[in-house]
Symmetry: C2
Subunit: 491 residues, 2 copies
Amino acid sequence: MGKAITGREEDYSQWYNDLVIKGSLADYSAVRGCMVIKPYGFTLWENMRNQLDKMFKETGHVNAYFPLFIPKSLFEAEEKNAEGFAKECAIVTHYRLKSDPSKSGKLMVDPEAKLEEELIVRPTSEAIIWSTYKNWIQSYRDLPLLINQWANVVRWEMRTRLFLRTAEFLWQEGHTAHATREEALEETEKMLGVYADFVEQYMAVPVIKGIKTPNERFAGADETYCIEAMMQDGKALQAGTSHFLGQNFAKAFDVQFSNKENKLEYVWATSWGVSTRLIGALIMAHSDDQGLVLPPRIAPLQVVIVPIYKGEEGKKIVDEKARWIVNELKGKGISVKYDDDDTARPGWKFAEYELKGVPVRIALGQRDLEQNVAEVARRDTKEKQTVSLDNLVNEVEKLLEDIQQNMFNRALLFRKEHICQADTWEEFVQALDKGNFVMAHWDGTSETEEKIKETAKATIRCIPLNNPQESGKCILTGNLSKERVLFARAY
Amino acid sequence: MGKAITGREEDYSQWYNDLVIKGSLADYSAVRGCMVIKPYGFTLWENMRNQLDKMFKETGHVNAYFPLFIPKSLFEAEEKNAEGFAKECAIVTHYRLKSDPSKSGKLMVDPEAKLEEELIVRPTSEAIIWSTYKNWIQSYRDLPLLINQWANVVRWEMRTRLFLRTAEFLWQEGHTAHATREEALEETEKMLGVYADFVEQYMAVPVIKGIKTPNERFAGADETYCIEAMMQDGKALQAGTSHFLGQNFAKAFDVQFSNKENKLEYVWATSWGVSTRLIGALIMAHSDDQGLVLPPRIAPLQVVIVPIYKGEEGKKIVDEKARWIVNELKGKGISVKYDDDDTARPGWKFAEYELKGVPVRIALGQRDLEQNVAEVARRDTKEKQTVSLDNLVNEVEKLLEDIQQNMFNRALLFRKEHICQADTWEEFVQALDKGNFVMAHWDGTSETEEKIKETAKATIRCIPLNNPQESGKCILTGNLSKERVLFARAY
């Protein structure tokens, strides 16, 4: 096996990279910090995107497209937002190359083609979108605006990791405009719910919904809601955020509407996004030392059929049955591949599809066919069973649902086993070191939060929604606290 | 009518802009040369994209994603390609902003964050993709690679027009790698065929397939195939291109594979693309002085129902019937909107949906309902008919197909009436002035082609595929020629 991957225990970080690269999801590129999403990884993203897009449309949103570039003067209009992203902006300063007179066949930036105003490659699109909404919104009749965009964005990160943190990534960003604060808050929470449903029901990853502390808020938001997922090393991964932006962008871009009483008011805003980072979460939540484990509802390929036979005559018999199974499964909307490549042995194929996380593998053996059965293996538990061909299609369909459920339950159980309370600093650090989410008291100040981050390398992931109120003492300062918050080390 | 649009005869160019802006397809943005694609326009693009994507997948292609940025050293590797795009490249030179010490609250480019190597925002992705393919291709077993990418690209155009020529646009770019010249050529032609099928069958725009002259070839291609469409002013619009790239990129990036005889060979390449420019073609091929006329197969909205009633009781009766029709149409997969907004009059709505090009409008009148009928209007011919509610759904379904066919036939007839031969320079210029495509002899030299372009403002759109061979004399020089080529003024 040329593609053996590093074990989780041995080197978690290398295990992750091996899964991404050897599992054919993505590859490094020639551009610093940017990755290539390979066809297998991109199909996974397409499946995720299509489902999310459907959910956005079902909740009344429409897609649009706004420019990649943001003129600097617009970018800096909402000061907190600008300040938050200034340090990681790719900046276009010129619009032409010319032949380099000193090097034949080489090009240089044409100094005469300098832009009057620099353009920022969007790290997020609030600025360009709200400068546009100004022209679209005059009256309460123009509201709400419920718009989403699928796009690439660029954030110049110094330390990058495939999917988790790359200079360019793909995402969607919803940008909505509302007449009232209440309606905008409702939207913020609704979209958090959509994200949670998607991640739990399609990615099979349980999440904790909550609100960020002011320190961890999106730059320019009044409130940031988030969903937090647990990875197999006990670290947290922020899987999606939904921001209540108040009237900050409306004020920065002077977007007012005349209300029913014909008075001018500033518009209320939300924005919300998930990105290709979710693929990182998916990998780390489910995979094992044999490779990826992908949930059936979004797997690029749900079923693979591997033939086992001797000679031409044997192949013919197996081929015929395989074609029939392929047709039947496709008829049920199940994606299936018949891998009859005769240059690779079945054992090699088994390992390959295990590595790639294909949920169900059917081994179609010439001898088994004589008894009208096939061997069906599920990727999540690696269990195999012998199934009569008469029931095969129904069994596979049930199995896919079962795998989906089992993956979620397993991840949920893992999380239950790795979430605890801590009441002393020692307990707190110990629990983190053992790879736990920790519910602990915090005195509510940014200073304490910062100090905990520096000392224990853990951040407040969120204040969970519907958090039970319970008086206690801050884990660090001993000051009074009215509720526990969720701490974890995080990606 | 606040939204009246300029007539075609009055000012064709303003007519086009009015359709785009007032038809809610797109808007100008705060970024020079970049547009905002509005939800209605974006849904149109989604419909086009989804159909094309399906056709690409049916022909064996898969999607992937490559970086937005291309390091200058990679960009310049294929010299002809680099030279062809050098003058219109947006260039990233810095990766950080900082507070401007001289202006409170403002930002400036941080001079200390200058990139060692400049990054080109992709105008097309051959360079970044072939630098990646180098790592993916070792043996003939790795071929063919049939990959497509949906992406944004940037070409710094000096004179921009909504959809037709914008600094940033959306497109797809296929990039395939093959073991033999024949296979690559076959792919080039196959994808041209896919484009032609899509534009004719879905956009209802007839196209002429052909090959570009060396002058008009894609920079870096050995041969460029194209489809050319006729607009209502008789000008041509290049609707799609498919390039046979030979071994140019394989040589520039040293991409070799070991063939079955275990010898190293350079890989053969194709690339092919269509863009949001197609929306410009769609608008100019079909629309009229009342607004957009959109073909049913890709229209964002296929049917609109407008209620006509008096009083609450009347509304209730009409509402109930409308809901039934909406359900029936949706059941047939037809997109439909019931516009019961009571703040706008029916006449206003009629004009609005005419402007937006909705193929079928159903006026549901309270009085008509008493007679179990409704008035159905088709956008393409503006004909109205009274249809029994019992047949309504089937009639609408048939009507949508009929509109689709009629739009294609009408455009085809228009083209037949505006394509001619010319044998003298006077005939040639006159025919062009009257808004025709002109088939004329050309002596085959670049010099003559250039001269004709300068003098008559017409370019050789293509040498049509299966072009009849016929000896004659060049329209400009009188030199011998073996075939006529297609000339036109063009977008």
